[in-house]
């Protein structure tokens, strides 16, 4: 279970986690304080898809956790070095991904998808 205040960012593709970090044009930012959701998910539309600009946004917004799918090693290492926790290769809708994260069961590489569609 997550016990302290965390600011979470998820790059989006529709309702799902964006398949590519560098190609996401919108992100969802939310705050979870001592396991209580504030219920305020903020969607930020980016002016253009860019891994560099997204990294900049993550740092200026003081994000603690990034949940994403495909991300290049270079940006993964950069964010980790900047003390941002990155949970990558996650597939699923942002709601289900967040739910698993709050429950403390989300792991990198998780596929949380309704496979029957």
């Amino acid at each position: 279970m997550v016990h302290n205040t965390k600011k979470i960012l998820i790059p989006l593709h529709g309702n799902d986690v964006a398949p590519r970090f560098d190609l996401a044009t919108e992100v969802m930012i939310t705050v979870r304080d001592k396991n209580i959701a504030h219920g305020e998910e903020k969607i930020v539309v980016l002016s253009q898809a860019s891994a560099e600009k997204l990294c900049h946004l993550i740092l200026t917004e003081e994000i603690d956790v990034v949940i994403c799918s495909g991300v290049e090693e270079e940006y993964y290492q950069y964010l980790t070095w900047k003390k941002v926790q990155v949970i990558d290769s996650v597939i699923g809708s942002w709601e289900s991904v967040l739910k698993h994260f709050y429950e403390g069961t989300l792991r990198a590489g998780d596929i949380l998808f309704d496979k029957e569609g």
Partner: protein, 466 residues
Amino acid sequence: MDTSQQSRINPLFNFPIDLRSLIDEIPLGIIVLNMDRRIMLLNRAFESLTGFSQEEATGVPCYHILRSKMCIKGCPALNMQQESKPVCMESDLINRDRNLIPVRINLALLKDPDRKVVGFLETVEDMRPIIKLDSQKSHAYSFAHLIGRSPQMEKIFQILPVFAQSDSSILITGETGTGKDLAAEAIHQASNRAKGPFVKVNCGALPETLLESELFGHRKGAFTGAVENKPGRFRLAHNGTLYLTEIGDLPLSLQVKLLTFLDDQMVYPLGGTKGFQANVRIIAATHRNLEQMVQTERFREDLLFRLNVVRIHLPPLRERQGDTRLLLDHFLNSLTSRFRKKIKGFSNKALEILRGYQYPGNVRELRNISEYAVNVCQEEKIQPHHLPAYLVEMKPMIKEQVSPLIQAGLDEYTLPGTEQTWGAMERKLILDALLKTGGRRSKTADLLGWGRSTLWRKMKQYEIDQ
């Protein structure tokens, strides 16, 4: 979904075979999608490329697994109709190891026996080996049109792109025919100024007064005959590169003007009061020894220091081990296809002669010899009698590797311990040639291998015509 039951092929053999094991042997990533673009089947090559297994990927929309740029920017499957042809696109993907991999994706429709579209077949080819091969091809043995695999040339190929990226002035030195012009153009093409103009000026080709107007331009009425404004080569090369070849032949008065330009980047046309700020990169080249010219006060020392920011020396062919054969084969290939000849190569004897020759004219001479031989040869292999006569009849080169005419001059006039300059030698050479041709200048120029204007200029320089 029970894939083991579905992935069977019946009609090939008398018994059903497993489709998965069949496609696993194909070294190309393959995925089969249903109409909703969800993955139904994939092979081992796809697994190793993306890092997703069949169990993980089955039923997941393909863009979550393939993660290619093509999926995000506009999946071609969305626009495919029943009669659509397969689509081939180059893209990239990020696999589970967080590697960005360039790929070539081929997407085709899958149809049932009634020609109804039931899904898609996608092949994903890893382009890394091909890109690596291309880069090896373009870096190991060549840079633009320069070719070579000798250690000296490899060093140059490695350093040229680095020099190209800087905006410093470059001085290229090397004997005639070593590829100074090609190197200059290659540097321009690899630089940030590649989209700008590449203007070449031969400093030795024009008389001083004309050269000044040619380089810096003139205003209308600046001198008799200046009926309109002329921009000059510096202005034409704005935002690009100005290549000054034979910089050693630049008259002293213009050397001062060039020096001024290198200091403040301003161009003042003849007869003009206003200057023009030109953003030009200078590449200069010469076959002359500028340091020696500085000593004899024929070249300004301060100009040499300004041009000599980055220096590239192109080695003569005789010092490039192994390059003669490479270049012979290269020119033979290109010339045989150009002249539509069916020549397969050089005979051993011809090769022996060609390898033994010292090529005072360097690559240009080697190219001319190849062209001559390809033109003359009517057989499958180039024989010694297809080579220019002077090659077959030549004596082994002695002392300095100089042209036959100069060598003859040296043989005739031994200069024991004298300090005779190149100018004096050249003057003697011209006089000898004039004697041999009975004073006919065009024949003299031919004999010396110069243009008539060069001969005229040099005769004037050495005051022969007075």
